[in-house]
């Protein structure tokens, strides 16, 4: 059963073609991670689905409603958390949530009860009556997400929800998102953090320059990026160029950090001895080496043809 269906969506801003024919589907009760570099069109797609902008072409359906023709019906079913915490800094956490509840036309008592529930769920009960100016970055994100959930929406759009958060707050937010999906919420999440997409998503769609360039489960995408990679840490970082030259017969090694080389090495490590011998022959000292599966980062860079 599909919760979100996007077909042939195009959108230009003047000369800039933000979306050039995007199709995707999200099954009810799952998380789709929308991955892509800056300017790929992720936010534009989320904004079109959230009825904030009209596509030039194509159709967007949320729970069976047309986001273009029936925006109010869609608005009743969605929650949106954008890149900025879209809350009023001069109001308290509680006032913000009650305000949103009343804008969903809940009566004021129901809005207050719901606000209290959310404040407790998001661990903000102690800060409920402080203005948001005093909140930390993590608390702002939580209150923003709470504001998106006032109406218990079956569909949630999260546009880079953890950008700028420390690792602990990020983990906390992941836990909350995971719990929502367990309760049946459908989530469309954009992120630049591949680890986040890997951890949270059932499925991933990679977009670049306004088109879908890959889709599948996180595991499928990692496999598709090619076989294992060899990562070598040199004992003398200044030898990196020398090491790169020594490995040319085996492939293009890239320098990912000072003194660290990564070389794609398909074939289950059969070429590993050759690599070691080549480095040894060039008098390059090895401090550490590891044969491993590619990370989603490497898969992503491979898919978008970006050089490390």
């Amino acid at each position: 059963m599909q919760s979100i269906t996007v077909a042939g969506v195009r959108k230009s801003f003047g000369e800039v073609k933000a979306l050039r024919g995007v199709d995707l589907e999200v099954q009810k009760g799952t998380i789709l991670g929308l991955l892509g570099p800056n300017g790929a069109g992720k936010t534009t797609l989320i904004r079109a689905l959230a009825t904030l902008l009209l596509p030039d072409e194509g159709s967007l359906y949320v729970e069976g409603y047309d986001a273009v023709k029936e925006p109010d019906a869609v608005r009743r079913l969605i929650g949106l958390t954008g890149q900025y915490a879209a809350v009023d800094e001069q109001l308290t956490g509680r006032e913000n949530l009650v305000m949103v509840g009343r804008l969903y036309h809940m009566d004021i008592d129901a809005a207050r009860v719901r606000a209290q529930e959310l404040l407790e769920k998001f661990d903000l009960a102690d800060a409920a009556d402080r203005t948001l100016k005093t909140y930390s970055g993590g608390m702002r994100r939580r209150i923003d997400l709470a504001a998106s959930l006032v109406n218990r929406p079956p569909v949630l759009f999260l546009d880079e929800p953890t950008i700028g958060l420390d690792p602990l707050s990020r983990r906390g937010l992941w836990g909350i998102i995971h719990e929502l999906v367990t309760d049946g919420t459908t989530v469309l999440l954009t992120t630049q953090y591949l680890e986040e997409a890997d951890y949270l998503s059932n499925n991933i769609v990679v977009i670049d320059r306004g088109v879908v360039i890959a889709r599948g489960t996180p595991q499928e995408l990692k496999t598709r990026a090619g076989g294992d990679v060899l990562e070598v840490r040199l004992s003398r970082p200044e030898q990196a160029i020398q090491a790169q030259a020594a490995l040319t017969s085996l492939g293009d090694a890239s320098i990912t950090a000072p003194g660290v080389l990564v070389l794609p090495l398909p074939g289950n490590g059969k070429a590993l001895p050759h690599a070691i011998r080549a480095l040894d022959g060039a008098n390059v000292g090895i401090e550490e080496f590891e044969l491993r599966h590619p990370t989603l980062d490497e898969a992503f860079l491979h898919l978008t043809n970006r050089i490390v």
Binding site: L52, L91, H105, T131
Partner: protein, 262 residues
């Protein structure tokens, strides 16, 4: 029945937005302080520095000046409407509102109505300061109330002008600069500080039809009396026509720009 329900939820959206904007003035009293200090400074500056050099038909310059300064303060206050809306737009708050099933005009309407209520406070404060330095109205309560209402409507109409310009400019700084571009000519080529008949002929033409002049003159005559009631009537009607024109043009324009802003 369904229409009645839709109407009552629109009113409810509007009230929620008014309340939110008024709460901001309570939480950020400096917004209120800045919108009153400036007109008070103008009032004192013109009364004590320039006032002695300006001849009007009134016995003391403060009588001539205060009604004008009241108009100036609602115009300057209107600039905050646009700047505040642009701030909401840039902070993503407007995205939140636009993704809710709420009345489309409520965000703008709530802001302009809240600013109108703020003006009640600003006008009362300005009149109090005026009284302290010698201003006296002597045409009775109803005339004063009429003058007060006219001022509030003028401020409301200019808040919508400011809202539309804010939606076009998109940054707080640009909204403020753009605001001064229309506010300054309106304020200074008017009868706020000096009688219009001291200006060169070509400027008098603009100054006489300026909505600021007709409003300031109406308020003067309402508060201080007028030997010519036909003149009061014509200025008063001109002021109302201006307010109506501004509202008819700028309310739909601002709402349309708000809907498109994305």
């Amino acid at each position: 029945m369904k229409n009645a329900q839709a109407f009552s939820s629109q009113i409810s959206d509007l009230l929620v937005m008014v309340e939110r904007n008024l709460l901001r003035y309570v939480r950020l009293p400096q917004l209120l302080v800045f919108s009153t200090i400036q007109p008070i400074m103008f009032l004192l500056l013109f009364t004590y520095v320039f006032g002695g050099a300006i001849l009007t038909q009134y016995a003391s310059y403060i009588d001539f000046l205060l009604p004008g300064i009241l108009v100036q303060s609602v115009l300057f206050g209107a600039l905050q409407t646009g700047a505040g809306l642009v701030e909401d737009l840039n902070k993503g708050l407007v995205d939140r509102f636009r993704s809710l099933p709420m009345a489309r005009g409520a965000v703008l309407g709530g802001r302009t109505l809240a600013d109108m209520m703020r003006n009640i406070f600003v006008i009362l404060l300005m009149i109090s300061v005026g009284y302290m330095i010698g201003f006296r109205a002597h045409e009775g309560f109803w005339n004063a109330l009429t003058a007060f209402t006219l001022l509030l409507y003028l401020g409301f109409a200019f808040s919508w002008v400011s809202a539309a310009i804010g939606m076009l400019t998109r940054t707080v700084e640009a909204a403020q600069v753009a605001g001064f571009i229309w506010v300054f000519p309106l304020v200074f080529t008017s009868s706020i500080f000096v009688p219009v008949n001291t200006m060169p002929d070509w400027l008098q033409f603009f100054a006489r039809i300026n909505p600021v002049t007709v409003t300031a003159d109406s308020i003067r005559m309402l508060l201080l009396g007028s030997p010519d009631s036909a003149e009061l009537a014509s200025k008063f009607i001109a002021a109302f026509v201006w307010i109506a024109i501004l509202l008819v043009v700028f309310v739909p324009l601002a709402v349309r720009l708000y809907r498109r802003s994305s």
